[in-house]
């Protein structure tokens, strides 16, 4: 437990003030790195300090920072609380900065757990405990409960209810095979449930991933061969008056990075070196760097010159990104078009003209659409999935696919049920609702069996 953890301890997007809480031995040092004001490492314990959180270039927000040194704190560790303005963007930005500065994102309930564990345990013992807890977290049923609220829980509960009845029915068929009045679950019934659930679950995962991406900023890469207008597109974005612009010198030649906050959502833009086959060693490094960025990007924008036929180079790029759901920008639409939207099979294609700034709005709309940004803004950020929940949801989906595979392989119903039950249990771990007699209760509630 010698690491330092951070989490937003107020409900995001609600109220005038947000509090970001940091706990652990490095908490004061970490926040001090970002704090413009007094040296926090020297202030007395249990004081509130006025200043700014600065990301190294600019001030993010005007804040009050509470310093509470161990042991007289909630967790018995050093705690720093940053009180900032309640907007979503600055709060998430500060969380991210503290995270980047060395604090790990806390698991749900972890502050409480630390408070509890720190009673009398010495450090060596505590390290072992954390190891085990860490390894057990995925199986943890109850800790998740505390931080889960409202909608996600209801949503998952509806999944589970669908499954619960089906499972109980299968169990009844197995344990009471001669109850002829009880409907025998068929493979068709199971197939329908699996298909429905798969869609819903994938939908939940997609949305959760989107939210996680948004939480960390959408890492966007603008890619294309030289002189197709990549920099113009970036600059057009950056010129938007709503945008907050920062420029960091790229570490490699021709790499320009920038961040914009776009309707409250952060986008990290990376304009890459023109990608082409080259023998120039310096340029080659740039090209390789660009290609490696593709792997880590959340969003890829490929810029093509619509007034020219596709070159080998364009084809090379399109091939690299074909599985990454990119946005294709047909730029220079003021010139006679040789490329048309119909020529491509990609889902997201827009036409722009960077000289007259036309088409940039449609690009923005396309981004919003891809990440459901309009919808997300409407939603309560408190049930953004954390990675643990996301992992469980993905596991549940995997179990569902296993069940489907068994179904297609003509496996008997009791075999398919094993995987379906794993789906049920895994979803239960997300909401902390698992208890072993749950199915039995359902079984005896809904089916009339017995001697």
């Amino acid at each position: 437990m010698n690491d330092t953890i951070v989490a937003i301890s107020t409900k995001l997007g609600e109220g005038a003030i947000s509090i970001i809480r940091v706990s652990g031995p490095e908490s004061i040092n970490i926040v001090n790195k970002l704090f413009k004001g007094k040296d926090l490492t020297k202030v007395t314990s249990h004081t509130i300090n006025y200043g700014f959180i600065n990301d190294g270039i600019k001030d993010i927000d005007e804040v009050l920072v509470s310093i509470m040194r161990a042991p007289k704190t909630f967790t018995r560790e050093d705690i720093v609380e940053v009180n900032c303005h309640g907007g979503i963007a600055p709060t998430l930005k500060i969380l991210e900065l503290i995270n980047q500065a060395g604090a790990r994102l806390a698991e749900p309930g972890e502050f409480t757990k630390r408070a509890f564990l720190n009673g009398r345990i010495d450090l060596t013992q505590a390290e072992a405990v954390m190891d085990i807890i860490q390894s057990k977290t995925d199986a943890n049923r109850s800790l998740a409960l505390s931080s889960l609220e409202g909608n996600l829980k209801n949503y998952i509960t509806t999944f589970r209810d669908k499954l619960k009845y089906l499972l109980a029915n299968i169990e009844v068929n197995i344990d009471y095979p001669e109850y002829y009045d009880i409907e025998e679950i068929t493979l068709e019934d199971i197939k329908k449930t699996i298909t429905d659930l798969k869609v819903d679950l994938q939908d939940l995962i997609t949305r959760s991933v989107e939210r996680l991406i948004v939480k960390n900023g959408i890492k966007t890469i603008i890619i294309g061969r030289p002189n197709v207008g990549k920099s113009s597109i970036l600059n057009t974005f950056l010129k938007e008056d709503k945008a907050i612009v920062t420029n960091i010198e790229g570490t490699t030649r021709d790499l320009v990075e920038g961040e914009i906050i776009f309707d409250g959502i952060e986008l990290s833009l990376i304009d890459t070196a023109g990608i082409r086959e080259t023998d120039n060693i310096v340029e080659k490094i740039g090209v390789e760097k660009s290609l490696s960025l593709i792997d880590n990007a959340d969003l890829i924008i490929v810029v093509l010159n619509s007034s020219e036929e596709l070159t080998d180079n364009d084809k090379f790029i399109l091939d690299k990104v074909k599985d990454r759901n990119p946005i294709i920008v047909l730029n220079k639409n003021d010139l006679k078009a040789k490329l048309h939207k119909e020529d491509f099979t990609f889902d997201h294609i827009v036409s722009t003209n960077t000289n007259s700034f036309t088409g940039i709005d449609s690009l923005k709309q396309e981004i919003k659409k891809m990440f459901n940004l309009d919808e997300i803004k409407e939603q309560d950020y408190t049930y953004l999935a954390n990675n643990r929940q996301l992992l469980l949801a993905k596991q549940a989906k995997k179990n569902l696919e296993e069940a489907e595979k068994s179904l297609l392989a003509d496996a008997p119903v009791d075999i398919i049920e094993i995987d379906l039950r794993a789906v049920f249990d895994t979803l239960g771990e997300i909401t902390g609702e698992n208890y072993s007699d749950e199915l039995l209760d359902e079984l005896f509630k809904d089916f009339c069996v017995g001697k």
Partner: protein, 618 residues
Amino acid sequence: MEPEIIVVGGGHAGVEAALASARIGHITLLVTGNISNIADMPCNPSIGGPAKGIVVREIDALGGEMAKNTDKSSLQMKMLNTKKGPAVWALRAQADKELYKKEMLATLMQEENLTIKEALVKELLIEDKKAVGVLLEDGTKIKSKAVILTTGTYLKGTILVGSNKEEGGPHGEKASNYLSPFLKSIGFKILRLKTGTPPRLAKDSIDFSKAELEKGSDEDLAFSYDNEGALAYKYQIPCHLIYTNEKTHQIIKDHLTESSMYGGYVEGVGPRYCPSIEDKVVRFADKPRHQLFLEPESLSYDDIYLQGFSTSMPHYVQEQMVHSLEGLEHAKILKYAYAIEYDAIDPKQIKPSLETKIIENLYTAGQINGTSGYEEAAGQGLMAGINASLKLENKEPLILKRNESYIGVLIDDLVTKGVTDPYRLLTSRAEYRLLLRDDNADLRLREYGHQVGLIKEETYKKFLQKKKDINELTRVLRETKITPKEQINQALMSIPTSPIKDSITLYDLLKRPEIKIDDLNRFITLDYDKDVKKEVEINISYEGYIAKAEKEALKMLDLENKKIDIDIDYDDIPNIASEAKEKLKEIRPLTLGQASRISGVNPADIAILSVYLKKRGI
């Protein structure tokens, strides 16, 4: 000679316990209220069924008697769930109740180290928190080194019919009225449970032409691994199926408050899975009918058991109810239905070895532990007999794990979670049911049976041979390839299955769902026992699924192998949440795995406990 082990009660738990301890080599005394009711089946005349049937197979694998005795006395055998996968196949027999008792008594009589005594036990003799014998109601003291209580529903048994409440056990036997107050006085928590049984009807007063015929399976079936087909199909006696109707339901509704249950005369908690007919009619009011089975009880008398019609209505209402049923218009009731209440102890006060936590060398098994069912009782009885014997020999107890047997699931559930209503085994209680199959109980457990001394050398050798054959046949199938020759492909298409383009091993061919092992006879001579072939077929056909279940089980075993000292001082462990601490003190789990299954004990508590154990080097 003074017995080493005294077994109190001669039901299904008691006979298994007594036989096990005697066969292992300990002088055993079985005390029962009525010798002629030893191994009686006071309720349904059948043994086995889903989960329960596998328990019977497990009993056989370990060296118990229930499977062999059922084979000797069956009226019908049926393999259930054959349309589903092998994990849930289950054998069930209709047993001749009279024959069952007679055969079991004969087996008990033959046992050298075993004596039977007719008496009621009043108290236990206890010295220094150890059971050292029993005090009979007539004042006689019998000393021993260990005592196993298998008292069934006799502890303060009360028979309920309508508003009538009488002391007594099943069949008008005398109840045991002193033992449970005594157990309470020495610290046991006493639960009051309830169960019930339907009426028995005279066979020749039933019009069977109005009922549907329910036959057994036309296969060579037996419960014991040592027996071939127990009963030829042509000798099997069928059951019959009828349904309740609106008239029946109306009678029940009109007289509802006259039943013991709805009249408020019952204190005990009844089993959820075994509702009375009045319960069914009330709780499932929208169902127009409920199915009932007519099951023969014995060839030596005429009683027909009306399965599904358990009730606590007064006799005159039972008459009306029965006569409202199609085919039973003129049925004569030989024995009326009744509910029975009885005392049980809280199974959380028992260790996984079935020894009680309060009194050393005292073991409990069967309904006294809050279970229901002959099979559940027999499984516990066997384990109590084995573990009492091991204790006297200063050996570690045999504790079956959840991935090894239904008996292990049953006992772990009992001692870890306790009971609220009488506990019945269900396949859904087993997380690794794919590993706990009807076909492989011997492969899972026979080794243990041999170790404790219940499996004779000759039987054990046959078992080793079976294992060897399974390995050999598997190897042969792995090594034998067929090639895409014309005649091979024609043989494949005649099975039918799709032809091959490349050569393939028979092992891989068997993985096709439409291929059965006997289909391979077209390519190779398979001169093996049918059980061997069946085992290999299941192992190969379900290989992927079985491997997955085994992987899951390994995760569980990781925690299961971390032992906790039963005397551990939980107050000495800082930081365990207080609810968890209370639960841990109550259950006193023997492993971290068991601790993790206690409700209210969180992973964080397990982590702290684990660190504490590591620190103490346990």
